[in-house]
């Protein structure tokens, strides 16, 4: 039987939304991007993007979500369809299911690493290990075969993944107020507390203290020294806009879902702003004060500046080694570090589960428990290739297509539909109805013109990213009559397999890397089409297409 969901409290809703936004990227992706793209100067395009794209998009998504919820739609196929009459709108909304499901698949795996590393930290598994041993521990844990394309079968990692997924399903099955909200009310304060403690410890590290070779302040100095030259580089702007995009979890459909349980006259403007700024607090202040300063203190600035070093893997391969210098505090620090990553992860993965559950409840009349199990089952199936073919590239393919490209396409589409099909007048009324803050009228203009333009530039930048991301050199080459060289990390370059040496699926002895890449893409495409078919079937059965607002 379908259950009527709702939020128990406003604080719970804001913490759940902030938890949705705060993820592993706040602590691992942001510092890497800031270190790579001009230190302090990166923060300028970052904040411009936050104000002109991030905050407006948060308001747009909250408004679409609440509007859809009033019409009984708690997932994006319905809430986007509710913005206008063209029947294809609901298929744009399929992205809001596809992204959540496919990102949840690899994200729950990441989350399970954090859970496992909490256990290993507490049990002292890293105690006395050398840096090489800690790095090798991770390779063994995930069964990564560095040069191979064969299958990975990491038994402990699969165990922790099943435990993590089971925990997600259990929390989701308890509903919004008794599950997601309670998890957020516990997870977010703990995450912030752990982050503050680690940040204070890392920033007070001085050269010669607890094995540190340099001062942690060197790292902070590097991160915050403005290099204004980088502002002229489009690559930096694209990276900053991309970071804002991913950190706020916009373009996913999870915000729409959470907001769809907000009542007609309840505020969304203040709630959205509060969740957005809380994410910035965690990302810029806490996220920027842990990884880079600690790494700089122990490994030096040159190590930090190498783009290949600071990033996702660093959190697991290097941090335990650095904590080992802290003596008796090492297991506690490891527990807090991986604990905060786990809380950051689970509050996000819960937000990915809810839209899928809501779709199954709304359109296929599944009960809460059954829809939670449906989400768990699909996530498990989709996670299998990410786990088993991790080193063959399946994980990265999921991350790129579902976690990057799909978000940009969906956000661009929804911003255009909101501003032009739904109409900016109605859209503005929707955003400001019941608002507990005065939303500056300037944002009406921003939502209509600037945000879609910003998103279009981000999309085009991702579509045709030139070799090395160097737009200036690419345009100069174009001016000389040379062709545009696509980067392997552009959408076109990725489809065309730019940079792939072996372009066959079988090299005579084994399946090639390309085979696994293409097989993953086929799987992702099939998943999207299957979800689109389910949307078509649901709307046909329920006659939903006609149910748009007047």
């Amino acid at each position: 039987m379908a259950v009527k969901e709702g939020w128990g409290s406003r604080v719970g809703l804001v913490l759940a939304m902030a938890g949705n936004a705060v993820g592993l990227g706040n602590f691992l992706r942001f510092p890497a991007q800031a270190a790579q793209y001009g230190g302090g100067a990166f923060l300028i395009p970052y904040f411009v993007s936050f104000l002109l794209m991030g905050i407006p998009l948060l308001w747009v998504e909250w408004a679409i979500g609440r509007h859809g919820g009033l019409l009984g739609h708690h997932s994006t196929p319905g809430s986007i369809q509710a913005l206008g009459k063209p029947r294809w709108f609901k298929y744009l909304g399929v992205f809001g299911l596809f992204t959540n499901l496919t990102v949840a698949a690899f994200y729950c795996y990441l989350e399970s690493w954090a859970l496992a590393y909490v256990w290993y930290s507490v049990s002292g598994a890293f105690s006395g290990q050398s840096p090489a041993e800690v790095a090798s521990f991770f390779d063994h844990y995930t069964d990564i075969q560095v040069n191979g394309t064969g299958m990975n079968f990491p038994i402990p990692a699969i165990g922790f993944f099943l435990a993590t997924l089971g925990l997600n399903v259990w929390i989701l099955s308890r509903g919004l107020s008794k599950g997601v909200e309670i998890a957020s009310k516990i997870g977010m304060p703990l995450l912030i507390a752990f982050g503050v403690i680690l940040a204070i410890r890392s920033l007070t590290l001085d050269a010669g203290e607890q094995g540190a070779t340099y001062s942690a302040m060197d790292g902070l100095n590097f991160l915050w020294t403005p290099k204004y030259d980088s502002l002229k580089d489009p690559k930096v702007w694209l990276a900053a806009a991309g970071q804002i995009f991913f950190t706020l979890s916009v373009g996913m459909g999870s915000i729409h879902c959470y907001a769809s349980y907000v009542k007609r006259k309840q505020d969304i403007a203040l709630n959205a702003a509060s969740a957005g700024w809380m994410n910035e607090f965690v990302e810029v202040i806490l996220g920027g004060s842990i990884v880079v300063p600690i790494s700089a203190a122990y490994l030096g600035l040159a190590w930090v500046q190498d783009p290949g070093n600071v990033g996702l893997m660093m959190g697991f391969k290097t941090m335990p080694t650095l904590f080992n210098n802290w003596g008796w505090l090492a297991p506690v620090a490891g527990c807090m570090w991986f604990g905060l990553l786990f809380f950051a992860g689970i509050t996000s993965s819960l937000a990915m589960g809810q839209p899928v559950m809501a779709f199954m409840q709304d359109e296929f009349k599944q009960s809460r428990n059954r829809s939670a199990l449906t989400f768990g089952f699909w996530t498990f199936l989709l996670a299998l290739p990410c786990i088993l073919f991790f080193s063959a590239g399946a994980f990265n393919e999921f991350d790129w297509w579902a976690g990057s490209v799909a978000l940009v396409i969906f956000a661009l589409g929804e911003s255009l539909i909101f501003a032009y099909a739904f109409g900016i007048d109605r859209g503005w009324e929707e955003i400001t109805r019941g608002a507990d803050i005065v939303v500056p009228r300037f944002f009406r203009f921003v939502i209509k013109y600037v945000t879609p333009l910003f998103l279009l530039l981000v999309f085009l930048g991702t579509l045709v990213k030139p070799l090395g991301g160097d737009f200036i050199a690419a345009f100069q080459r174009l001016g000389r009559g040379e062709s545009w060289s696509f980067d392997g990390e552009s959408i076109i370059g990725s489809i065309a397999h730019v940079g792939v040496v072996d372009t066959t699926w079988w090299n005579g002895e084994e399946l090639t890397h390309l085979f696994y890449i293409d097989a993953t893409r086929i799987l992702l495409t099939a998943t999207f089409l299957a979800l689109a078919f389910m949307v078509w079937k649901a709307f046909r059965k329920n006659g939903r297409s006609a149910e748009v607002s007047s």
Binding site: R10, V11, V14, G39, G40, L43, F47, L70, M217, L220, N221, L223, W224, T225, P226, K263, R264, K265, Q266, D267, L270, N271, A273, S274, W277, M278, E280, F281, V284, I285, G434, D436, I437
Partner: protein, 39 residues
Amino acid sequence: MNDSALIFLLVTWSVISFFCFKFFIKVVRTPPRPGDDDD
């Protein structure tokens, strides 16, 4: 830390902390209004 980095850091941290706490405190303190729960 050099002066420009310190200024950059302090200004950014202040702005973020200000808005983060201002908005969250407002969320916590604003009581529900009559009719808020109407669909």
